[in-house]
Amino acid sequence: MGLDITWAVDWVRRSADVIAEHRVELIRLDRDIGDGDHGENLDRGFTAVVPKLDDLAAGSTPGDVLKLVAMTLISTVGGAAGPLYGTAYLKAAAAAGSESSLDGEAVARILAAARDGIVARGKAESGDKTMIDAWTPAVDAAAAAAASGADATAVLAAAADAAEAGAVATEPLVARKGRASYLGERSVGHRDPGAQSTALLLRAAADAASESTGA
């Protein structure tokens, strides 16, 4: 059973909730190796998205929701995360096209498009201690799950698990992109805030899916 507009809307609402809930944690992570605004920035962005969901036209697709998120994040978040997440959602929306229901394959494709968008804008490679280090394992896990015939919900669950592991795995890394790179060796031992928020957002996607499909 595919994921539809209800899932997409629920994902956004859950995203807003989870980011608000983890706002201080993300601020603290960013404070340690950055400038302490990541939680505030994302919270401002997702708080701005939620009321706009009501304006979605009847017959909107998941792609429309993703595009709405993209445009809102781009115009409210700022910082590095605003354009990077904005691009991610924009590319995801393009990959989703006008399909009204997304199966496991589609979800894997969408996640890959999102990740590729971030790489295109931010030029980070795996191991640079950025959100990419959560996204790439997630994309890989999603692709593997989809290839083995998993449904959309299972694909997202695999992606969320991998993103969480990826976020944890940023801790020993030396940052080479973003603000944390200014710290050099001193960035070691801290989790990347963008990787952590990626894990939170993908977990919200998985939760929304398992709810919507009753799994």
Binding site: R31, D32, D35, I74, S75, G82, R121, G122, K177, Y182
Partner: protein, 333 residues
Amino acid sequence: MKKIINDPKRVVEESVAGFGRAHADLVRVELEPVHVVRADAPIAGKVGLVSGGGSGHEPLHAGYVGFGMLDAAVPGAVFTSPTPDPILAATKAVDGGAGVLHIVKNYTGDVLNFETAAELAAMDGITVRAVVTDDDVAVKDSLYTAGRRGVAGTVLVEKIAGAAAERGDSLDEVADIAERVNANARSMGLALTACVVPHAGEPSFDIGDDEIEIGIGIHGEPGRERVGLEPADRLVDRLLEPILSDLPYGEGDRVLLFVNGMGGTPQVELYLAYRRADEVLRERGITVERSLVGNYITALEMQGMSITLLKLDDEMIELWDAPVQTAALRWGR
């Protein structure tokens, strides 16, 4: 957290509104989206200069909007680069037909948001060039970092490029001189205390009563190294050494010496540091032709300072001396 603020989420908006009222002769303030525009913009035939970035570095950038410097400033949330919309709005507001220069400090967020705004402006038929400042020698400029940060050198770029635009230089000419200033400027900073971002409510890093952070940026980021308490002269030497050897600056060079306060350090300390820096440069046969001392690019109430050297040529001196009339930098009119 003790601050003279109301709602932490409305700090920038309320402050910029106050700025607009206090300087109504110089600027026009727009709040949706937030940007600050020179009162007489757009000026037909003049290249427009737009800069911006996170708030908390005041007087940068709004304090530099006016005759001979910026045409518009775009303040983001505290320490968060603005989104493309206000940058685009500012770009449109100052386009007098000769194109617009974006002066962007080298941070991932600033670069990406200005890039998007520039693309959107191009779609509206406005020619935009961007100059990215990256004068901070505390960060190695290599494949393994996001590149050097744009810090205090940005003020000098804005002044000198602003004067070039005011005398009628073309967009390419203004961009070239901005690049030249950036290429000849090097900075390095230190902090005695952290700062408190209003929405975070706690210090940006923990630091002991007998510790100093060397190589800090202007966003309350921790620095590269932590040292114990040292006399001012030694601290000045710690900042000057990597600067001097980087460009490098040497005998016979003429420079502008800029001692910048991070916001919470009293002037008495800045001038004391200036004294030592001036002494070191003299010893090396470097001539201090111009000086700037004060809080020109800050990190909220952080205690600390940065030193910037700009290697001058005759044209830069002429443009530096040219009249400027902004809230924070003014002479000649």
